[in-house]
C-alpha cells in the first residue's frame, strides 16, 4: 500500500533473473529431494520479491526485519507492515516477521522481543533452527565489523551450529564493497601453504593478486570458507558456481548457493568438492538480465561448466554454450 523509500532493497532485473532462473531450479530440486516445500528464513525485504518468485516451493516464511529505535525504527516498522501487506495482497500464507538484526537473531536464536524465533526449538539449553532455506543478503559486505568483531562470519558459524540435523539450502548475497578483512585473505594464504598442490596455489595466488575486481576474490574465498565452517558442524556442502551481478544502487554483489547436507557423527565431515574444485568453479555474471561468462583464472578448465550448470533451463545452457564456443574460437 505504501511505497518504500529505501529503494536499494527493491528488486532489479539481474536479481529477478537470479531468483527465477538460477535459484528456482536449485530450490525446486531440493524441495523434491526433501519431499516437502521449504521453510524460508532470511531477509526477504518488504516487497517479498524472492518469496513471491519461489512461492510454489515454500511452506513457511520467516522474514527477518530490523527493529531499531527512533527515526530508523519508523522505517523498520514501515518495512514490516509492507511485508505483511504484500503477503496479504499476494495471498501468501504463513509469513512471520522476526523483529531484530539478522546477525543477532542467528547468534542468539531469539528476536528483539526476547522470544525464540518461529522455526526454532529449544533442546538441551540450545536453540536449534529447522529452516530448509536460509537466504542472507549481506548488503554491507561479509567483512562488516560491529563492536570490534566480524559478526557476519560469527553469525554464519552459529547458523550452521543451529541448523544441526536439518539439511538446507544456503543462499548468500555479498556486497564486495567492504572488501575482505585481512584475516580472510590470510585464511586463503594459509590454505595455500597447507595444500601443496601447485595448481591450487597458482590459481589461489591469481585470485589474491588479480586486478579484475574484488568479486573474484570473494568468489575464491567464500566457498572455501563456508565449506570449512560447515564441515566443523557435520555438514557437507556443495557450492554452485558463484554469480556476480550489479544490484540496486549499483552495488556489486556476488551470489552464492550452497546445498548443505547434515551427517550424523561426531567426526569432521568432508564435502565432496575439494578446495581445488571450489577454486575451479567458474565465476558467472548476470548483466542486464542475461547470464554471461566473464574472464576466468588462468588454466581454468572450461570443459567442466556444462555439468556445473546442468540444472539451468535448456535455453540458458544453450546461451552459455554459444559463449563458450566464442571463447574457444578466440583461443
Amino acid at each position: 500500500m505504501s511505497s518504500i523509500e529505501n529503494s536499494k532493497f527493491s528488486g532489479n532485473e539481474n536479481k529477478i533473473f537470479i531468483t527465477k532462473n538460477w535459484d528456482y531450479p536449485i530450490l525446486s530440486e531440493f524441495s523434491e529431494f526433501l519431499g516437502r516445500p521449504l521453510d524460508y528464513f532470511g531477509l526477504s525485504g518488504p516487497n517479498l520479491e524472492d518469496v513471491i518468485a519461489w512461492r510454489n516451493l515454500l511452506h513457511r516464511i520467516r522474514s527477518v526485519e530490523r527493529h531499531r529505535q527512533g527515526e530508523e525504527g519508523k522505517i523498520d516498522k514501515k518495512n514490516q507492515s509492507q511485508a505483511v501487506l504484500c503477503a496479504f495482497r499476494n495471498n501468501i500464507k504463513n509469513v512471520s516477521i522476526i523483529q531484530g538484526n539478522i546477525e543477532e537473531v542467528i547468534l542468539t536464536g531469539i528476536d528483539c522481543n526476547q522470544r525464540i524465533i518461529p522455526g526454532a526449538c529449544l533442546a538441551n539449553d540450545f536453540i536449534y533452527f529447522e529452516h530448509t532455506l536460509v537466504n542472507l543478503d549481506f548488503f554491507g559486505g561479509i567483512g562488516y565489523i560491529k563492536d570490534g568483531g566480524i559478526t557476519r562470519i560469527e553469525a554464519i558459524k552459529k547458523l550452521f551450529e543451529r541448523q544441526s540435523s536439518t539439511n538446507f539450502i544456503f543462499i548468500l548475497n555479498i556486497n564486495v564493497r567492504d572488501g575482505i578483512p585481512n584475516e580472510i585473505n590470510e585464511y586463503l594464504q594459509d590454505y595455500m601453504k597447507h595444500h601443496e598442490d601447485i595448481n591450487f596455489s597458482r590459481s589461489a595466488q591469481w585470485y589474491l593478486e588479480q586486478n579484475l575486481g574484488k568479486k573474484y576474490k570473494l568468489k575464491a574465498i567464500v566457498p572455501i570458507l563456508i565449506k570449512a565452517i560447515a564441515e566443523v558442524f557435520n555438514f557437507k556442502t556443495t557450492c554452485f558456481p558463484p554469480l556476480a551481478y550489479t544490484g540496486n544502487g549499483n552495488a556489486e554483489m556476488v551470489h552464492f548457493v550452497f546445498s548443505c547436507e547434515y551427517g550424523i557423527g561426531k567426526l569432521h565431515r568432508f564435502s565432496s568438492q575439494t578446495p581445488h574444485q571450489l577454486l575451479n568453479l567458474p565465476l558467472l555474471e548476470v548483466s542486464q538480465g542475461n547470464l554471461i561468462l566473464p574472464e576466468q583464472h588462468p588454466n581454468y578448465d572450461f570443459s567442466g561448466i556444462a555439468n556445473q550448470v546442468a540444472f539451468l533451463s535448456e535455453s540458458i545452457q544453450a546461451d552459455l554454450r554459444n559463449q563458450l564456443d566464442l571463447i574457444y574460437k578466440k583461443s
Partner: protein, 568 residues
C-alpha cells in the same frame, strides 16, 4: 486550575441568575477530558479480542470479502480488501463518538471502535487506500503519547488536565504515501508494540479462533449444503449482510482460513420471520434440526457446542451468546435447544445492540421483539418435540418389527409355554401400536398399520394352533381312559406332541378325566368352569411343575395326589 475556574464566565452567569430562571450554559472544550478514551476502551472492551471485532466491523462495513488477522513479532495486523477510505473518510475516522455511518447498512455506528485497542498497544496505525487512488492515507494514534495526558492516581497533581480534543490532536497524525499499485484497495490496521499480556492472549490460537467463530460474521464452509440457501435468505432481508472469509496467521502455528464448521446430519433450515405490528420484518430466524441417520437422535455433537441452539445476529455479528436464548426452551430443562443450530438475525434497526455487543438496548420495540422471539423459538421447540416423538415412535415400531420376526421363528419351534407367552406379548404390542401411530408421520402410520395387520395375522395363527392342540389333547384323553399309571407316559406324550407336533395315539390312550396324572387333567375332571385363558394358564403351571420338580419325584407325585384328592 483555580484561576481558570475563577475566570469561567459561566459561574458569573449562574450566580447572577434570578430565582427560577432557566439558564443554558455553554460546554467548553475542557469539559470533556482525555480520560474518556481509556474509560470507554477499557470499560467496553473487556476481552482483548474485542478490538479485533471492532476493526473487523469496519472491514465488513467497507464490503471486504477477505480479512486477515495476523500476529507476528510484537504487532497485530487486521488487513482487508474492502473499499478503503478516502481522505475525508480517514479524517472522519478520528472522530470520537461521531459516526457518519448509516445504520441501515453498517454495523459500526458509535464511532469509538478504532480506539478499542488504545489500551493494548503503543501505536495504532491505519493505512487505507481506495481503488484507483494513487495515494494511501495513514492515520496514526500514538497511544503512549495520548496516555501521558491522562492523570493517574499517583501523578494527578503533576499533570495538567487536558481536554479530549487537545489530547487527540497531540497524539494523532496523518500522512499521505504514494501507492505503486493503483488497483489495490483496502485497509490495514497495525497495532504496534502490543503489550505482552495482549500478545500472550494472541498465542492461544484455539481461544482466538473460537472468539472469531462465535462473534464475527464468518461465512459458512463451501461444502455446507445450506450455505447459499441461508445466505441468500438473509441477504434478501438485509442487503448489507456480508459474511467474510478470515485468515488467521500466528507465528507458531499454521495459517488457517476460518469458516463455520460443517455440522453433520442437519436438516434443511427452517425459516421463520418475526414481524412487527405493521407486518414489517424485525428478524429472520433459521434453525437446522440435528437429524442423524444412524438412529442416534439427540443434540448436536459436543464438539460443536458453540453452535448449539440459537443466537442473535446483527449484520452478521453475534450479540450476546447462545446461552441467552436457551431459557426459552423450557421442555426437559432446555434439552431440545441443543438439537438445533440457528440464528435470530435482526434486521430491524430500531433494535439496537449495546456497545459491548452483549445484548440490545432496552426499549419498547425490543420488549415487543423479545416476546415474538419467545413465541418463535417455542414453535421451533414444539417442532423438535414432534420430531423427537416421531423418532421415538419409529424406534418402538422397529423394535416391534424385530420382535415379531424373532417370535415367528420361535413359533416354528412349537413350544406351547413360549407360544402362550408370545400371544400375551402380542396383545401388549398391539396396544402400544395405538400410541405409536399417534406420534408417527402419515407415511409411517401406514407402516405401523401394516405391522398391526401382521400382528393380527400372527395372533390368528397362534389361536388356530392352540385350538388344534386343545382338540388333540382332548382327543387323546378320551382314547386312553383305562391307563392305571398315566402320569409318566402322558407327560412324555405331551412333551413329545408338543415338540414334534404329531399325535402319538398309542401312548396317549389314557383318560385325563379318570386318571388325574397332571394338574390339567385334575382341573378338567373337577368340572370347575374354566375359561380358555385359565385352562392355558393351568397348562403352563402344569408344565412348570413337571419341569421344576420332575415328574418322577415323590414331591411331584405327592402334589398331584393332594390335588387329585382335593378336587375330585
Amino acid at each position: 486550575m483555580w484561576r481558570k475556574m475563577q475566570l469561567d464566565p459561566r459561574i458569573e452567569n449562574l450566580e447572577n441568575a434570578s430565582l427560577g430562571e432557566v439558564i443554558s450554559l455553554p460546554v467548553f472544550e475542557d469539559d470533556i477530558g482525555a480520560g474518556l478514551v481509556p474509560t470507554l476502551s477499557r470499560g467496553l472492551y473487556t476481552n482483548p479480542f474485542d478490538c479485533i471485532r471492532e476493526y473487523v466491523q469496519n472491514s465488513v462495513d467497507s464490503r471486504a470479502r477477505n480479512v486477515s488477522v495476523k500476529a507476528t513479532g510484537n504487532s497485530v495486523y487486521i488487513i482487508d480488501d474492502g473499499f478503503g477510505m478516502s481522505v475525508s473518510e480517514i479524517i472522519s475516522a478520528r472522530k470520537l463518538g461521531v459516526s457518519e455511518k448509516d445504520m441501515r447498512f453498517k454495523v459500526g455506528f458509535r464511532g469509538i471502535g478504532i480506539y478499542s485497542a488504545a489500551a493494548f498497544c503503543k501505536k495504532i496505525v491505519i493505512s487505507s487506500k481506495k481503488k484507483g487512488d494513487e495515494k494511501t492515507y495513514v492515520f496514526t494514534l500514538d497511544c503512549e503519547e495520548y496516555f501521558k495526558a491522562i492523570p493517574r492516581p499517583d501523578n494527578i497533581d503533576k499533570i495538567d488536565k487536558v481536554s479530549l480534543s487537545k489530547a487527540l490532536e497531540k497524539a494523532t497524525s496523518f500522512t499521505v504515501e504514494v501507492s505503486f499499485l493503483e488497483e489495490d484497495q483496502g485497509t490495514m490496521v497495525q497495532l504496534e508494540e502490543v503489550s505482552t499480556f495482549f500478545m500472550q492472549a494472541f498465542q492461544d490460537e484455539n481461544e482466538l479462533k473460537r472468539y472469531i467463530l462465535r462473534n464475527l460474521p464468518i461465512d459458512f464452509h463451501e461444502d455446507f449444503e445450506y450455505k447459499s440457501l441461508i445466505n441468500e435468505k438473509i441477504r434478501s432481508l438485509d442487503p448489507s449482510y456480508n459474511p467474510i472469509t478470515l485468515s488467521l496467521e500466528l507465528d507458531h502455528s499454521e495459517s488457517v482460513n476460518i469458516f463455520r464448521p460443517i455440522i453433520p446430519n442437519l436438516d434443511t433450515p427452517n425459516f421463520k420471520e418475526i414481524k412487527d405490528e405493521l407486518g414489517n420484518t424485525m428478524a429472520i430466524c433459521w434453525g437446522c434440526l440435528h437429524k442423524p441417520s444412524d438412529g442416534k437422535r439427540g443434540k448436536i455433537p459436543k464438539k460443536f457446542s458453540d453452535f448449539f441452539g440459537f443466537v442473535y445476529k446483527y449484520k452478521g455479528f453475534t450479540i450476546g451468546t447462545n446461552n441467552d436464548l436457551k431459557p426459552i426452551f423450557t421442555t426437559g430443562s432446555g434439552t431440545l435447544f441443543e438439537w438445533y443450530t440457528g440464528e435470530v438475525y435482526v434486521v430491524d434497526i430500531k433494535i439496537i445492540p449495546d456497545a459491548p455487543r452483549s445484548g440490545f438496548e432496552s426499549n419498547e420495540t425490543y420488549k415487543y421483539f423479545y416476546k415474538k422471539v419467545e413465541e418463535t423459538l417455542r414453535s421451533y421447540q414444539s417442532e423438535a418435540e414432534k420430531y423427537r416423538g416421531h423418532e421415538r415412535a419409529l424406534e418402538r415400531l422397529n423394535e416391534i418389527k424385530n420382535n415379531l420376526q424373532s417370535w415367528k421363528i420361535e413359533f416354528g419351534q412349537q413350544d406351547l409355554f413360549r407360544i402362550a407367552e408370545i400371544n400375551s406379548l402380542l396383545r401388549n404390542q398391539k396396544a402400544s401400536l395405538t400410541t405409536i401411530k399417534l406420534e408417527l408421520s402419515p407415511e409411517m402410520v401406514k407402516d405401523a398399520e401394516a405391522v398391526e395387520e401382521e400382528i393380527n395375522g400372527f395372533s390368528r395363527k397362534i389361536e388356530i394352533f392352540r385350538k388344534k392342540k386343545n382338540s388333540e389333547t382332548r382327543k387323546s384323553a378320551s382314547q386312553n381312559p383305562e391307563d392305571e399309571n398315566p402320569r409318566n407316559d402322558d407327560s412324555q406324550n405331551n412333551t413329545s406332541s408338543t415338540e414334534s407336533g404329531q399325535n402319538t395315539q398309542d401312548s396317549s390312550s389314557k383318560s385325563t378325566l379318570e386318571k388325574p396324572d397332571s394338574v390339567s387333567t385334575i382341573a378338567a375332571r373337577s368340572k370347575i368352569p374354566l375359561s380358555t385363558g385359565a385352562k392355558e394358564f393351568i397348562e403352563v403351571v402344569d408344565r412348570g411343575l413337571k419341569l421344576y420338580l420332575g415328574e418322577e419325584t415323590d414331591e411331584y407325585k405327592a402334589l398331584i395326589k393332594f390335588l387329585s384328592t382335593r378336587y375330585s
